[in-house]
Amino acid sequence: MIFLTHRDTENHLKSSLNFLLFCILFLFAGSTYSKSLKIGIVEYPPHLIFQNNQVSGKLFDYINSVLSPLNYDVEIIRLPNGRGVLELKKGNIDMLIPYDDVTEDIDTLASPLFHPVPGLCFKKENFIPILSATHRFKELTVGVPLGAPIVAALKNSEAILFEIKGDDAISRGIALTQIGRIDAFYHPSPAQVYHQENKAYKELACSYFHGYSNGVFIAVSPFMKHKDFQVVDARLKEAMAVMTYSYYFAK
């Protein structure tokens, strides 16, 4: 049993009041609108490039210009492929850029940033520039990443589809094309590899299935504050109406 003296009671009362004050201040602080955003970024060349521990690329510049009028305290977190969605679901980041997985059930901002077009990469000497000429695929062995959604033009052609398994299916497919083990490789977005900065693909050239594209979005965490979502979503729409990212990239 504990007996409290008058002094003990006074101290107890004081500490209780202090605790109460702390709780009120804490709650008050919690109810103020904190303007910070954690943005996870996954490398997506040539739009987003990781170099010397920095993120660069026109998409990064565009997003900066979109967000800067909102005066958010923005923290950029570089993430490896595949980690972005996990961090988003855990709430460790508020937004993920870019996001193009149509199979996942993830919320996104309404406006797509751009629309990559899938295509085929060939050794340059075997290049087929116009992929609507599907009769030219007859008996070509085309590597496809296992599970990747394949466009109807290729699926319905007489190409021999060769599934490539594993997380590195794309780089393996490209390597197999380069050594001539397969005739072509199906890439969901060949622009990511077929660009002038990529010295590793000098022997390849890619062409596109125009008319078969999916959007690339900014994904948002299920824990992102609704107010933040609305503010950023409206700002992106406004910016896209003035100049789309695709045009910004092309200029």
Binding site: P129, G211, S213
Partner: protein, 212 residues
Amino acid sequence: MTFIFKSQPLINQRGGDKAVLFGDDFINNIKVTYRAKYGEEFPELSHFLKKMLLQAMVEVMEDNRVLFNDDEIGFKGIIPAIFAAQLAAKLSTKGVGLKIKFTRTKDDIRNVMNLPDEWEEMVMQKVINKPAVYFDNNGMLDGNPAYRQFTPLPMAAYCLKCHGSMEHNPLNFGKDKSQWTNIDMTGFEMENWTISDFGGGVSLSIEKSVLE
């Protein structure tokens, strides 16, 4: 389309400065080509759809930049019809209520993405023997009321390089007849059309709500 046709040597050449094909330079060239062809100033970009159309053209050219600058590839495949198809695909991603399609009667179409819809098929049957611009004030686009126009394209000599007969095929130039091919430079079988045949046309649709 005219500028893309005129630029074929530049597009397909190996090496050289191709800056005129991109960005603001490209837009300036479109304007110059328009003035030369129609003898009037390029239309004011007074509506966002006009701006969007020009922007989409620039984006299509940018999408092809790496290919244009790939010195190890000669024929790049960006002929006027392909440019038009890429532009149509680009516009369809923008959701702005504007659709452009380069189409022809369905039995003769090369790219299934350009197959005519019911309205286009009906209009072509009307104008195939007497080509004239057809305008419809009461059309529909994706279930919404729309203005629709079909502009027939006259067959030109350059169309026959792919769609004509073997003597028109540049791949056969300078070769003995026994070595001629009826496969054109894009990889399709030539159709044996003549200069008097129907050349298809450009179908343009704009949702009314966009203009109101």
